[in-house]
Symmetry: none
Subunit: 194 residues, 4 copies
DNA sequence: GATGAATGAGCTTTCATTCAT
DNA sequence: CATGAATGAAAGCTCATTCAT
């Protein structure tokens, strides 16, 4: 009595977990099938190729991330807004173990051998940055230098990605809140300078 | 000291080039042998496994990066020093096509299936951050809040990694100098605020 | 007697078309099901195996061919009969695109891995040749050497199969009417020689 | 101490034998490897794909056939030449068990899913027919109608292929020498008619 | 030092077939 | 009648690794 969506969902989740753990190339369809408690044949009943599974994982992942980004950024538009940018960082980074790894692997895959995936990611990054920039413009009251805001939007996105990378490397305990405060300072200073 | 080192060097360079282009998993020993104009057997005369070749590539890569990081940071200690932090960014990012890709692939490899490699990278990241922090302390004249400088050092390293990722995704033309200026502003502000 | 036969007929026609296009081994049951707009399960309601479908196709095909052969040969018994043997060739060859390919594939299948099919074809070939021989005897007025007529019947059948093969290979434009004339000449000569 | 050519030769012969027995699609690389007493990996050391193996078989096969065709036809140019056309048939057909089957399977493969192979065969068929036509012109002393000779060349080639097919189907005992005599008659008649 | 030959495990994918509903 | 879900064996192919010479 397994329903269509159920099995497909199980495959998707298994594949996500395994890819998050081992990376795209190191996760075989046999792995996914075994982890999902189905046969390799069933995999192909729901997906037409490994590539197809990865595309689905990427879609789901990008949707989740996008929702998270929007949620974070939209919340910043309140009154004591800039300070809540802390959340942008902390919230996003706190999801590292569940999504950060898969984010990294998918990006590696996208850069090396999956042009379609690269385009998907490229578009999302643009989208995220545009949204962030719009919110920054609102926060700054629209009177700031356009190029400075542009730079700031690039910078904020980079910081997040860079911190995800560092956290995955487990090099050091990262002082997220200190870094967040540092960033807030930067923004506030720029804002009040005018 | 003739053919021996020479051949090993050729292998190392070939492998680096190929891995930078295709990633670790997608680069086969056959690829490396062909590109090096030697036989697969010879590969095993110089290296005991594929893993061994990657370790050597990582060593070389980390040495190069470390030298670059030190060079950059040491130069910042001049008088109008903070402004030359621009260089930290621009210089590092400008080497993207040659080292950025291999950096990403090695990190992916390190995160997923090569604990030894992960430890190697983790140590280097700590080392780089310590160096950077020392230079920041010098630049700030030692009177700043320690935690703020700590945070700043994390932040600067993150930005670089994040920008490398974005540049590899080719999502947008990244305004490096604007971002650099933005960062300099941040540091200068903090410095003069006291 | 409604949907039952109808569906089975659709399956048969779809399978014939696909096998004519792609050959037996390259035509999957999934292909046939999709082309018939039914599910794979339904296929098994009407046929117990792929082998079973092919047997049915062969039956139908052999029936069609036999009818065509008989039609042709029977027409030759008129007065200026031998000349209309042209038709035997031209008519048969003109149906190449629709039946020639399936004929070839079924014969290949019969030769390699389907003994039952081989026996079916063998019997039909005997039958066709007997019929042809009878007609030749009639045409020759029964006074000819039996072995020569026997040989002629083998020869005529061979020519047709050989020409089908060549036409499928698309090596050259085959001068069917010239060849037909050549054959008529042969027969007429033999006939009048006595 | 297996030499390069030796192993490749073994593979080629094994593959030929198996394909002659089972056809192209039904002969797996595992079959070939097992029959050759080597591993599947070794197969790929000598050939880059299954397609590659088949191409090699086809080359060898076509070379053998071409040599046989030339040998036969060239011998016909003697004095009592036309009668030795018997040989064209008998010699060619007598090689059925060794080459006829493979000929059929390769042609099936060529027709259905290997355009390159089809072109190879198409060219050879043209070549064979040209050679045969030249010899016929010589035999006829050059005074015959060109179109009649053309037709005759098509006809002779068709007969051979058709007889091969029938012999593989094992429908009946084929009276090769009677058929040959019948053909010789045809040619001689045409020749002396002028 | 260097090589070519050989291997076997594992990869992605295909497909005829089964069966509960 | 008809289906969608599931299967497992087998296919073509890749690749790190071994080893005699």
């Amino acid at each position: 009595m397994k329903s269509n969506n159920n099995t497909k969902q199980i495959i998707l989740e298994s594949a996500s977990k395994l890819i998050a753990k081992q990376g795209v190339k190191s996760t075989s369809l046999a792995d996914i099938a075994k982890y999902s408690n189905i046969s390799k044949g069933t995999l192909y009943y729901y997906y037409s190729s490994k590539y197809d599974i990865i595309a689905d994982i990427a879609d789901t992942h990008l949707e989740i991330i996008t929702k998270a980004v929007l949620d974070c950024v939209k919340n910043v538009t309140g009154d004591e807004d800039t300070f809540s940018l802390v959340q942008v960082i902390v919230d996003r980074i706190s999801t590292i173990s569940s999504t950060g790894r898969i984010h990294m692997y998918l990006i590696c895959e996208a850069i090396t051998e999956n042009e379609a995936l690269r385009l998907q990611f490229a578009e999302k990054y643009r989208e995220w940055r545009f949204t962030l920039r719009e919110e920054l413009i609102k926060a700054f009251g629209g009177i700031k230098d356009e190029r400075e805001i542009e730079a700031l939007s690039f910078l904020l996105i980079s910081v997040v990605d860079g911190l995800v990378m560092q956290s995955l490397l487990k090099a050091e305990n990262i002082p997220y809140s200190d870094i967040a405060k540092c960033l807030v300072d930067t923004i506030v200073t720029k804002k009040t300078r005018d």
